[in-house]
């Protein structure tokens, strides 16, 4: 029950739906990014049962009707976004860069564009989408094969000044951590530093003093607690209280890899560390 003079929650809800419609219509938000199912379910729940008072009931009914109308607008906006786009009006008119660039490389792989006839029904659209998706999955597989074949041809390895310096300071890399893989470690560090640059805690926190043994101990503890592979980037981000500590922890990981306490694996583009068995 609402307090005297306070707007009912369901009226607030209608206002919120209206705001969503404005944002979608203006293009401020992509309809594909909005979970309409949840939004509308919450709206229905918010309206609940009609009030017993006849005057309030009339307001409730008209508001609920309006909310349903706005919800259908939202669904329509999303449906339009999901449906195949009609032929663009500017196609073939300007010969501009975009028109040239729009032509898919390697032939028409999608099968959705350049259709003479509009899809007859939703099932037809779905079938075409499924076919396009299947072909892109196949393209992905073939790209992977191409990468595999090409990886057997190696260019000359460019020496990395940073790696050479680390090797001079920390000692030679172990046999199972060749310079090329160490290069990936440095890339991972660069990414973590990039991510932490944006974090407030990293920007404003005072720089802590370094205790080498403590850093080594923290890495060991995290790896032991996980009991399996630990994502290196996540370890650095979660463990470091300051950007400079990221570098300290990174050097600690390198040291533990170098002395053979840890080993390094790569999966899905991420580097994982774990205790050497």
């Amino acid at each position: 029950m609402e307090a005297q003079g306070q707007q009912p929650a369901w009226m607030e809800r209608l206002a919120e739906l209206n705001r969503w419609r404005e944002r979608l219509q203006s293009g401020e938000v992509d309809p594909l990014d909005v979970d309409l199912a949840t939004l509308i379910r919450e709206t229905v729940e918010c309206f609940g049962e009609p009030p017993s008072d006849s005057e309030a009931q009339e307001l409730w009914l008209s508001t609920a009707g309006e909310a349903l109308r706005v919800a259908s607008d939202l669904l329509n906006l999303k449906a339009q976004r999901l449906a195949p786009e009609p032929a663009r009006e500017d196609e073939g008119t300007g010969g501009d860069e975009a028109a040239v660039a729009d032509e898919p490389a390697g032939g028409d792989l999608v099968g959705l564009d350049d259709q003479d006839e509009a899809p007859s029904d939703a099932l037809d659209v779905l079938a075409r989408r499924a076919e396009a998706y299947r072909r892109f999955k196949e393209a992905a597989r073939l790209l992977e094969e191409q990468a595999e074949a090409w990886s057997r041809h190696q260019p000359r390895q460019a020496p990395s000044a940073l790696l050479e310096t680390l090797e001079r300071v920390l000692g030679p890399w172990p046999d199972d951590l060749p310079p090329a893989r160490a290069e990936r470690l440095v890339e991972a560090l660069a990414k973590v530093l990039d991510r932490t640059r944006m974090a407030d805690r990293a920007r404003h926190a005072p720089s802590p003093g370094f205790d080498w043994e403590e850093l080594l101990g923290r890495v060991r503890r995290r790896v032991d607690q996980a009991g399996g592979p630990v994502d290196l980037a996540e370890l650095l981000i979660q463990e470091a209280r300051h950007r400079t500590e990221v570098i300290g922890l990174f050097l600690a990981v390198l040291e533990l890899l170098r002395v053979g306490e840890l080993c390094l694996t790569e999966q899905d583009g991420n580097l994982w560390i774990q205790r050497r068995s």
Binding site: S26, G27, E28, V29, D30, L32, R81, L82, A98, A101, D102, P104, A105, G106, G107, L109, V110, R129, A132, Y133, R135, F136, K137, E138, A139, A140, L142, L143, E144, E145, Q146, A147, E148, A149, W150, S151, R152, H153, Q154, P155, R156, Q157, A158, P178, P179, A180, R181, E183, R184, K191, E266, Q267, D268, G269
Partner: protein, 180 residues
């Protein structure tokens, strides 16, 4: 071997990335046509004498790379790292960008049927795709395209070498112009 071919070999050996014809011509102080002939001579010589390296055209440039048949020996020393290690989702997204570029995130998600933000971020981080432009439509959606690094990583001379899917499906070989 001519002086020009030897000079091309020296410059390409000292450079880890592919060099364009223009860059080579500038380095050698010679006409592009002359450099092209020198590169052809170098390629022929490397092939005919059974050398362990070969000259390939990749990413709109020229590069000296090892021959595939020595990969096993090489791997034991440097490891195989140039291959992009991507998740299935990222590879799928990359294939869509490669064949449909320029393409927006919404279009990618329409095709994949799932949120592709993480996959796109990974590809941007790895330098395999980049922002092509923003469309002058409401919301100014970002359109993506592949990068020169993509061509390098996949051994493609240019996007024109992305073969039609049908051709690949029929068992055509990889696009890179290399020999074993």
């Amino acid at each position: 071997m001519s002086d020009e071919a030897a000079a091309c070999e020296a410059v390409l050996f000292a450079t880890a990335r592919p060099l364009s014809l223009e860059e080579l011509a500038r380095a050698l102080g010679a006409e592009e046509e002359r450099v092209r002939q020198a590169l052809e001579e170098l390629r022929r010589l490397l092939d005919e004498t059974g050398r362990g390296i070969q000259l390939v055209e990749v990413a709109e440039g020229f590069q000296l790379v090892t021959r595939a048949r020595f990969f096993g020996a090489l791997r034991r020393v440097v490891g195989a790292v140039r291959r992009p290690s991507l998740s299935a989702a990222a590879m799928e997204t990359l294939a869509i960008v490669a064949y449909r570029q320029p393409v927006s995130r919404a279009e990618i998600e329409e095709l994949r049927g799932v949120n592709s933000e993480a996959a796109i971020s990974t590809l941007l981080e790895r330098g395999l795709i980049e922002v092509a432009h923003r469309a002058p439509t409401p919301g100014r959606p970002v359109y993506y395209r592949t990068t020169r690094r993509f061509l390098e990583m996949f051994g493609l001379r240019s996007l024109d070498e992305l073969p039609p899917l049908e051709a690949w499906g029929m068992g055509a070989g990889p696009a890179a112009k290399t020999s074993p």
